[in-house]
Symmetry: C2
Subunit: 338 residues, 2 copies
């Protein structure tokens, strides 16, 4: 089959690789109907994460179950499924505690930007739609594989509550989904930090009541003004850099929690400030599977349309161009069709 | 009046200083009946915090209200009161959110190891007992000024729940009070990390179900064994050093929260581990006033006796010896009687 591989920084190729096969009786093989490029894929692309030259890349996809192992019971051939980027048995002690992303029998998709993906613990990981979804639902369903579930996790971790204020740091696809999550959870004021007009527009459609175009101290000042000098009740940190984390803690009110979902790179936490103002930090790798039933219902009922984060759709052959577009911020998020 | 002053590392003196006086109409002057030395006082004592030579030191005390400002309504002359180490108006936006330690009109006691203390926002800060307490209640009441409320805050921040497991890192007075708090809150297993027999004994009296004498990797291994390989549901970090913080995160299960109340010194957080395992950090300066009514009730009803952390009582004249005893870990916590 064809799948995307990475060879060096900015060297992305679509190559022939061996077809994935059932390796354990709990596996399934999914034919990818749509995959996409994640903000976190840009870390190795930019050479900021180590690269295993020639390895496949891509962890988000939706598709149709092509083959199942002998012990798979709940998922059937022909099911249309959302593939959580981290897979889980959904029965271990960590899964039962809701942290499916720390499953004791974890698996990861690595051919989401390819034609087929092997999923371990198919019954624990996959969630099927009720019949074949319409094509226009595809982008939103695809976001449930990672980006919408991750934005949702940021809001959960930050403790967004009805009537409260939420600030979202980061206007990437995850940040925008964080805006949507905070809005759905009933935050009265949802402040999006963004300097890019097309992203601001999506943030507003996702429920942002305020958009702040400044950065750093300027953004902090603006949030202070919006919140009557108090700071935000909940802060969603959706980038993972030192600067974004500083801003997140800078806008948080005493007693607030920063929910973080951006893989941290070069972050030094303002521990004294956290201590002095009782600002907590929670979050991490999103337990996608835990949120899937709820999010799937929100999408299929039409209450949310997170698929709007895809502002570019390319055939899989053009995956390298997709990376370039996201790297240069010409695209928010690129959907790939095999 | 006489009050304790610090001049340089290990240079503690009892000196004559000006009597505190009402400066604002919301102030009160409290005659100190009992004060004490805090673990955090050892930071400047050991030269690890800057010292303002000749300044008074000591922030924990209980006593009798001697004088009140013209706007003080709820507190009266002659009341026996607990003085929270950080004072608050109990009406500002942060106080109303429960973070009284980030009051917009904050005050700090600095002559708790002296004969009198000025308290700002007396109505917001002080909580009076119902009549004069018996002498044998004094130590427990004194712990409510800081150490018991701080241990309680660690347990609240860590999210201790009935039936769960809690690990307490630190066997100082705060850590021991954290054991007591976790036990009162209904944790089924409360694991105290301590290598010192007298402290282990108090931990057991405070409800520790398990005592682990190891440190670092050894302690982590022991906790893993106690928790069936899972790790603790809640971790109370009551020291504030890099090593104690590492241990705290090392024993936390995925999805757990580390509640931290030890002023951080030289701490670098294991951010990748926190992210990968969804382990949060919460806590900070304890909002003592918020917990006072509940804790006062627990003490006066005899349900808890946190005063057991005082294993030494000295006349105020011997305050320098008190510091030495705590510095050398000959005493857990020293009570001072003016």
């Amino acid at each position: 089959m064809r799948a995307t591989t990475i060879h060096a920084p900015r060297d992305i190729r679509l190559e022939d690789v061996p077809d994935p096969a059932i390796e354990a009786p709990t596996d399934a093989i999914v034919r990818v109907v749509a995959g996409c490029i994640c903000g976190s894929d840009l870390w190795p692309y930019r050479g900021e994460n180590p690269i295993d030259a020639g390895s496949t890349i891509g962890h988000e996809c939706v598709g149709v179950v092509e083959e199942i192992g002998s012990e798979v019971r709940d998922v059937r051939r022909g099911d249309f499924v959302v593939v959580p980027f981290c897979q889980c048995d959904n029965t271990c002690v960590n899964c039962r505690a809701g942290i499916t992303s720390a499953c004791e029998n974890q698996g990861w998709t690595s051919t989401g930007q390819g034609e087929y993906a092997r999923v371990v613990h198919a019954d624990g990981s996959l969630v099927a739609t009720d019949g074949m979804p319409d094509d226009d639902l595809l982008p939103s369903l695809l976001t449930l594989s990672d980006v919408m579930a991750t934005g949702w996790h940021a809001a959960v971790a930050a403790g967004v509550r009805p009537g409260g204020t939420a600030v979202v740091v980061g206007d990437g696809a995850v940040g925008l989904c964080g805006v949507l999550a905070a809005s759905v959870m009933g935050a009265e004021r949802v402040v999006a930090l963004s300097r890019h007009e097309p992203r601001q527009e999506i943030a507003r459609r996702f429920g942002a009541t305020d958009v702040v175009a400044g950065r750093g101290e300027e953004a902090e000042e603006a949030v202070r003004e919006i919140t009557g000098g108090v700071g935000a009740d909940a802060v969603l940190e959706c980038v993972g850099t030192g600067q974004s984390m500083d801003t997140a803690f800078g806008v948080a009110r005493p007693g607030a929690t920063v929910g973080f979902v951006g893989v941290p790179h070069g972050v030094e936490l303002p521990l004294r400030r956290m201590f002095g103002r009782n600002i907590g930090l929670a979050g991490g790798v999103a337990p996608v599977r835990r949120y899937l039933p709820e999010l799937l219902d929100l999408v299929t009922s039409g209450r949310i349309e997170p698929g709007l984060v895809f502002d570019s759709t390319l055939p899989l052959e053009d995956v390298a161009e997709g990376y370039r577009a996201m790297d240069e911020r010409r695209a928010i998020k690129v959907l790939l069709r095999p």
